[in-house]
Amino acid sequence: MELIRGDALRGHLETMILSALERSEAHGFEVLRRLEAAGCGVLHLKEGSLYPALYRLEAAGLIKGKWQEGSGERRGPRRRVYSLTRKGTRRLAEGRAGWRRFVQVVGGILGAPA
């Protein structure tokens, strides 16, 4: 199956990140793993490009981040853990509704309803 690259996700990546964080808080690396797992291996992102989206979401108050305390299990730099805010949960619901509408309309036009 052809890979879906970052450019094709423009406009959707942020809602997808909100969705990945819905289950539980996670650091960037884990968010990416969840997105890839949910994308069944078809989704292909340049990993660094996840962070600008996280910063935009944080600046908009949709997620909040905090530095992870050292657990001793893992060496290397500290990671930042993100969680969904109430505003983020609302935005995710809006994003899902918007997506359903989009698929319905465009699918109807293309003759390929979801």
Partner: protein, 253 residues
């Protein structure tokens, strides 16, 4: 690790943003890159190949710079845009910097005297306003007193700035007891010098009419303000030290 830091720094350094935000980006991107490397290393058991693959997966630094820049709020971006016309700031900084071979104490005195004189010059327009307010009718002896006050102010301001610079030097380094004692000494000296300049300024600008001494209030305000300055200098020094391992990296700009 250094190769990863250089890769991250190539992406982050050109971003126009607050230094605290850039520091967050650096730490977080490095943590991510390290995670990818560990994952690849576990998969391949070949450090060199794992490094190459980690960098490939992470993405091109120039493209990441553009994306990171897009995540910075517009106002913050504008405030950190370099303005070519402000290169004169660099010239001023060069004029104010330490000359080759100049001792630290000589440099401290020289820059304090220069800045003290500049600060005193700022009082001159107020003196002129006072003369104009009296209809240019001040007596020669009063003009002499004003000139004397200006000279005294130049000395006091220089001493004041010298002591503040000493306090800054003391709080910038390791906060050992000796450094704290030195900082406290400079702080107390600066309060005294600042306090001494208050009646001189008042005499010059208000003449003999000034009978309301509020030295205690001035001393309290000055003492608190100088403590605030010391705290800001300390925080700035700590932040700069934390970031220096990044900003000192050679990234082949």
């Amino acid at each position: 690790m250094k190769e990863f830091m250089v890769h991250v720094e190539r992406a982050v350094r050109p971003v126009r943003a607050e230094s605290a935000q850039k520091f967050k980006m650096r730490r977080e991107l490095l943590a991510h890159l390290t995670c990818i490397y560990e994952e690849e290393l576990a998969r391949r058991s070949d450090p060199a190949a794992a490094r190459v693959e980690a960098l490939r997966r992470f993405g091109d630094p120039a493209a990441l710079t553009r994306e990171l820049q897009g995540s910075v709020p517009v106002l913050e971006r504008i405030l950190h845009t370099p303005i070519p016309a402000l290169s004169w700031m660099t010239t001023i900084q060069q004029l104010n910097s330490r000359r080759p071979g100049e001792s630290e104490s000589h440099y401290a005195v020289r820059s304090a005297v220069r800045q003290g004189i500049l600060l005193t010059c700022a009082a001159v327009p107020f003196g002129i306003i006072r003369m104009a307010g009296s209809g240019w009718a001040l007596t020669p002896s009063e003009l002499g007193v004003m000139a004397g006050c200006l000279a005294a102010l130049a000395v006091l301001n220089s001493a004041f700035l010298y002591l503040i610079a000493g306090m800054a030097r003391a709080v910038r380094g390791d906060l050992r007891p000796a450094a704290l004692v030195r900082a406290a000494g400079y702080w107390a000296g600066a309060v005294v010098a600042g306090l001494a300049s208050a009646p001189v300024s008042a005499r010059m600008l208000l003449g003999n009419e000034n009978r309301h001494n509020r030295l205690l209030v001035i001393a309290a305000v000055l003492a608190v303000a100088l403590l605030g300055i010391a705290a800001v200098i300390r925080l700035d020094a700590v932040a700069k030290r934390r970031q220096s391992e990044w900003t000192a990296l050679e990234i082949g700009e």
